[in-house]
Symmetry: D2
Subunit: 381 residues, 4 copies
């Protein structure tokens, strides 16, 4: 597939995700970490304008020169930006105007790709495509979080990214040895996967299946949320400060477990794959079970031996740079490196991850208390 | 005018205020104190349904039984309600659905008023009308606050409620004596104005004019925000904790003063009437000027001698019950009395106050740091 | 008694209060509102040095020029000062050094009063005496608060300021009329009591007795802390945010009520006079009882008809300036006026108030959530 | 040296550290992370009583059964404990009583060690010794933090742990290869150093010298604290939220750099070894210099080639368990493992670290914003 086709497909995918949105749904920001749909569709467009069109088209006329301020996310080197918690207040420009902005930028990118086939351009377009794919998943998770706070439990679509059942079982055993870590194939990867390097692994066993809802209910009913001995100290503080007694989105009414999904409030199926779990909960569960979570290296090496792609899987690896990791020059250098502190690595992908966006070397990362992503648990021992 | 006509006019006024709103504008909540337009138009409708229709129509079928939860503001006796800071997340039901809700309730109220002319009903409808008029002004002030946080400074309408100039001058002198306070005329008033009682006033002088932008700029340029001696202790803490150096909505760029208005960013006219001032700022200005603010009783007695209605005027009276003040039975009793703590009384009305909604005995009230209302300063000595 | 004797007696009283203190007890600050004993005994000395010695003795040599910074409380006009929450960190200078400081200043004041009998000096010394008397009571209440957080419940003394029983009963009835408010006698008063003025009172009845522990236990066991209808909105928020279910210092263990007192943990005697109650609790109790709290004017006028002096009595009057109230020039002007915002007036005195320090025109003031003072409830209707 | 002698020496060392303390100095807690001297000397004693005497002496009579509550630090399995931020309020028991407590426990331990030479006992006593040594260093750092907030800048002693100069220079180069990590020698180590395991290192260069004050001043004057490009995202938020412009304890007055030391306020010597730096500052400095911080494994392997022991050295390794790390049964298991989240590893030791308490495999750990420890920077590339 040509770069142009990849570009156009990705842009179309984003707009297709918006099909079930009402105009009102585009606006709200329900937490500092969760951006409005409108912001996602504008910011991904801004990325192409800011990183590519301004650079490659000599006399490029921006669609609206205020957007540079309004739709910048976190790039300090590109100047001031709106405060993150105010993203839900931008009712104007209108949603319709944002779609015009998308079309405007699409037109220029299309023409640019016809007349310029430099490697540098191609690399940046592919980065922009991957960036937009990341925001596709965020659009879904952020929307779910917003909807979950609406007492009428809105139904967004039949497909809710969560109704998959577990079918695997058993353990994979990996021998000790020197292994190579990092992206080795052709094709795109993020800078944090680069710089191939060797690591030494002691032998370990890793589960072929992800933890199910039913298994986690056992932990809950066994008093798992009330016993500090299963928890990291920071996790226990988090449980107590927020009075947490069960996973995000769960309701316990009249002896039955339900959870909010993008299809509305539903019964929890015990054989479904557990989702929306923080690292702290994942770690406490593993401890209760007499196991542990894998490191990201153990995960990467073993991943050819099990199925993955249903949930983002927490590892007990802090998000840190690989040896010889280099921060790129310019704004692109702010993409990954500066976040390497107090975040944990997740590996794999979820059902909400965009097609063609996953790799076994992919390093996703979130703070340990994160719950609103489609996250799950794979045990190791 | 019949009650029914008053009712219908008020409902129409609300909807007319919404004429310039885009569908997106209905959604955001920019602060805990500022509700979305959508919430205002639904909550005022909820008030009629909850306080009247459920009570007076035997087998009344509610429009949607979830709305009782979603659009309750603060009535503990009417059960649980959505957390105040989540009002901006309710994208569904849609705005269109809320307008249907309005029409549905309007239909029932119209019929009810045709067939029932009890005094109790009439009193509650008039309370509901006045309640909706209060929300009309809030809709404007809340919208202004939201728009002010949008870096593109949206223009809402030509009319911005603020472009009036001061034309009065001089002082009114009032003699000592016993005066009667409270609502004495026919017609509606809130329960907090009732219970006529006598007070004794020492002699005083009160200004016929409100403080202008130009006068307040003198205070600013004289270092008024930097000298604790003009400020109450709580005011000085507020200034320092929030790093306040000028009134809300003001910008000082290239030696010129501008402010955000509902017509967009505009130059400040020195002869315009100052607006959006907190009690703390009003008190500091008065102190700097060698004057003071009036008490609410001084204001009420002198108010027949000067023009008012341009700005809500801060008094140096805490919002407390009048002697013999009685809290009504039931939910209506939560309207006023429970807020009588740590709030200051404002008297008069502003340009954004609804027609037929002002009285010289009217007791408005807000915390001393409040800035987003159309508030001003009248000096006393 | 001469001014000098009054001065020396007051200074001695302070030091006598410290008799049961261990050296360690002088140091801790248990809350921003509660200062360490060491700070109280130094700050009251600083007041005499700063306001009097520096002014009246031409070449006065300060004891230590760093103390001006360390022991200033809140006088902006006297320069920078240590942050309030850091008062408990000043281990050096030593307690012994502070007592030397006291002796040094006492020597100078003694000599000054021998050779100078100007009215201005006398007025300032009397202000300093009254200031120190206020800190004597604070020393006791602050110490009690600190000790209460020590799980071993230390015993400070046999006398705990709280073991008085109620013996009065019945109501006083006051007629409507014009009354004069403010300090009318000879002798010292604070500036906030000055400026005699007339007020008009509607008729009312006020209780001769204060509410007892037993009466308040009825409120608690009737679910008083769980029903929002008795509470002001701000009070209900306070109850919920702090999870308050009973008065400060109370413990409910094995069906019995105990409270921490300066004599240690003791059983609550039902006929004792309730203490350590916030305004919010006082107001909720009065509402539950079908009564209300008096205004400070009602209290002042009726006070010649009942016994008072056991507890500081909450009034439903905000702490605001009397008509014609004037702020003095210089640092002394910061004593009272700048605190006239978001505080409620308390009248009377408590068992911990210094001898000769109470007047029926005295206006004490604290925020509505204040509990650590010896406060009580007198009903009105 | 016998275990008993080691024990007695350690206990004596603690008491010797207290020689310059006034009785007042024992009391204050200046931050949640900094405990009072009194608490350190009691808590270390409590550790021996709780972990050893209660277990090994059949009818052991505790010195005071309230101490179990008052001087527990964070052991959930040993029951409730005083809230951490209230450690500075415990004026009673007195300091003298705490010294009696120490003597009482010392007596029992001495006897116990004479009559029992089980390995289990010996292991626990050695753990208690190492625990007390950790608190010796904390006692110093906590005291410095408290004193630094006293505006008179108290002098504690001539020796201030900071006046060492750098004399090394150049770089050590390490080859790629498989290395073994963890404690391999005889003698005590903490559980987090155990479980020998192999790792693979890519080649690197590490500096023989620590960064000096003069070098860091260059970073400050080059605008290092104002340019986000040198900082991790979390570090930049920390700088902005706390308005940080220079290291802890520094003052810049009249063009000269000074810092608070335990000998009082002193000039900063440019050739002195930088101290009291957070991980964020260390990382920003390294980035500005075009270098990076070492991982804890790089540090451990290279440490035989350079001098260390002057400052705790930040590594860019998160504090995580070694492969096969096992949490011990019982209270001792809470010593290390539960803190393995959101903390960074420091290696080496500082001038304030107790004699015989350092090892090149020692894993110290603190959150990235920690400044009050004697921390420094070693560059890597």
């Amino acid at each position: 597939m040509t770069i142009l086709n990849q570009y156009l497909n990705t842009r179309q995918d984003t707009e297709q995700l918006c099909e079930n949105l009402t105009l009102e749904d585009y606006i709200p920001q329900s937490a500092e970490f969760a951006s409005p749909p409108k912001w996602h569709i504008a910011h991904t467009t801004w990325f192409f304008e800011e990183m590519i069109l301004k650079k490659f088209i000599a006399d490029y006329k921006v669609f609206n020169n205020q957007f540079s301020f309004v739709f910048n996310s976190y790039y300090n080197s590109l100047g001031e930006r709106i405060e993150r918690q105010h993203r839900g207040l931008i009712t104007r420009p209108s949603v319709q105007e944002i779609f015009k902005y998308r079309a405007y930028v699409d037109g220029y990118i299309t023409n640019l790709l016809k007349f310029n086939n430099s490697e540098e351009l191609e690399a940046l377009v592919i980065l922009g495509i991957n960036h937009e794919q990341q925001h596709q998943e965020l659009l879904i998770t952020d929307l779910k979080y917003t909807f979950s706070l609406n007492p009428i439990y809105p139904k967004f679509s039949e497909h809710n990214y969560i109704n998959d059942k577990n079918s695997d079982s058993g353990w994979v055993s990996i021998d000790e040895g020197i292994y190579t870590i990092g992206h080795q194939k052709e094709g795109f990867c993020f800078d944090n996967e680069l710089q191939l390097h060797r690591i030494f692994l002691e032998p370990y066993h890793i589960s072929k299946k992800l933890v199910t809802y039913g298994e986690f209910i056992e932990f809950v009913t066994d008093g798992g949320y009330k016993n500090p001995k299963y928890w990291l100290d920071a996790g226990w503080s988090w449980v107590q400060a927020n009075n947490i007694t069960q996973p995000l989105y769960w309701k316990h009414t009249q002896g039955k477990w339900q959870h909010y999904t993008l299809s509305g409030l539903e019964s929890i199926h015990t054989d479904g794959i557990l989702s929306h779990i923080s690292f702290y909960e994942a770690h406490a569960y593993a401890t209760w079970k007499g196991c542990r979570l894998p490191t990201e290296f153990e995960w990467e090496i073993a991943s050819t031996y099990f199925n993955w792609g249903q949930r983002w899987e927490w590892t007990y690896s802090a998000y840190l740079p690989y040896p010889k990791f280099k921060i790129s020059e310019g704004a692109v250098g702010e993409y990954n490196g500066k976040f390497m502190m107090n975040q944990m690595v997740l590996r794999g992908a979820s059902k909400a991850t965009s097609k063609n966006h996953s790799r076994h070397t992919y390093r996703n990362f979130f703070p340990a208390e994160t719950q609103w992503q489609f996250t799950g648990i794979r045990l190791t021992k």
